[in-house]
Symmetry: C2
Subunit: 213 residues, 2 copies
């Protein structure tokens, strides 16, 4: 089946959004915690986090200026801080509910049945139920000319892992062992299973599996 | 377990790269096809594709100026075109091998055992074994000041799906049905299983599952 640009531009609007959000592959699921100047906590669902660098550690994510990300973007600009919290599969329903558009004066943790928690170093709340979470400081805000959205680059500050055994001997963080969610599009929550890890690829050698400890 | 920024900055370099690449969640796996001015095809592994917008359709991805992405970045700048090809789990070994640094005059499709194919509208090659693939035109190149990497924003042009039944009645593209790869970090290839889809969330309603057709 072959679809041209004209074909997809003629799709009905909601059908097209569902189509393009799900077309481009499995993604991580993060709950982004922020706090406004009145101390009210905000939670939003982010499925666009990407790795920018390790040395020093940076992550990027995409935010829309209106809709579900509006409070998140405002809070990050004002406070300079946010947290990213990955969630286990058993919380899929609560995670999805966090994407609903609650009024700004509602504490979204309470609304969706999750627990906010704080660490002294950071004004943004973490999600207590998240076994893999990190705080970030706003490093760079980039405007995408093509459609008026924004990319936020954050520098990773602190990392909290529920279990240090999630890190294997070579530094790999085994997200599958924590049964963390992967998502396809805006609404399809998936469990994952490891097929194999492979060693650093070399042009003159065949693929070599890593036998995990 | 709590790791401060100082803790992770003191990690050994390769350990730190493995740690941060795998920390931030499951990602899609795309093979990016480009062609240089001499007609030599290049393949690279991209695990940073993110959704930018549906209307019109844009995708973003991160590229490093040196290393495995160097030829990809050069070719996109010169020709303005690239393809993104998702791959089924059974091709995990070939996909991983495509990340090896072959010399520029080698055809990487042949080196890794995959097949390049062309469509008249686009000078960049597709991967014939990919059941979900799309061509993109370079729309915007963004330099990330924080670490000298680049974000490429592409406008989606043509989409090729091996089976139109991958699209459900509401426009959802069921990547799990095509057994497409999800990846954790640079080397851990995963299979996925759907837990549930949920309807558009509303503040005044509990989460409601979608019963797929």
């Amino acid at each position: 089946m072959r679809l041209s640009r004209e074909d997809v531009l003629s799709f009905e609007k909601r059908y097209r959004a569902t189509f393009f959000n799900s077309l481009s592959g499995f993604r991580s699921l993060h709950l982004c915690g922020t706090q406004n100047e009145d101390g009210i906590a905000n939670l939003s669902v982010i499925n666009s986090v990407f790795h920018v660098g390790s040395s020093p550690p940076f992550l990027g994510m995409m935010l829309r200026p209106e809709g579900a990300h509006q409070h998140t973007l405002t809070n990050i600009r004002k406070t300079g801080w946010f947290t990213l919290n990955q969630m286990p599969t058993k919380f899929a329903a609560q995670v999805h509910q966090a994407a609903a558009r609650y009024p700004e004066d509602h504490n979204e943790f309470e609304e969706v049945g999750l627990t906010g928690c704080y660490d002294d170093h950071c004004p943004a709340p973490f999600v207590a139920e998240s076994p893999v979470r990190y705080s970030l400081k706003l490093e760079e805000e980039i405007s995408i000319k093509a459609n008026g959205t924004f990319i936020i680059i954050g520098s990773v500050q602190h990392i909290e892992l529920a279990d240090e055994e999630l890190i294997t001997s070579d530094g790999y963080v085994d997200l599958g062992a924590a049964d963390l969610l992967a998502v396809n599009g805006l609404d399809a929550y998936h469990h994952t299973e490891l097929i194999a890890r492979y060693r650093y690829p070399k042009p003159d050698l065949p693929p070599r599996k890593i036998h995990q400890d």
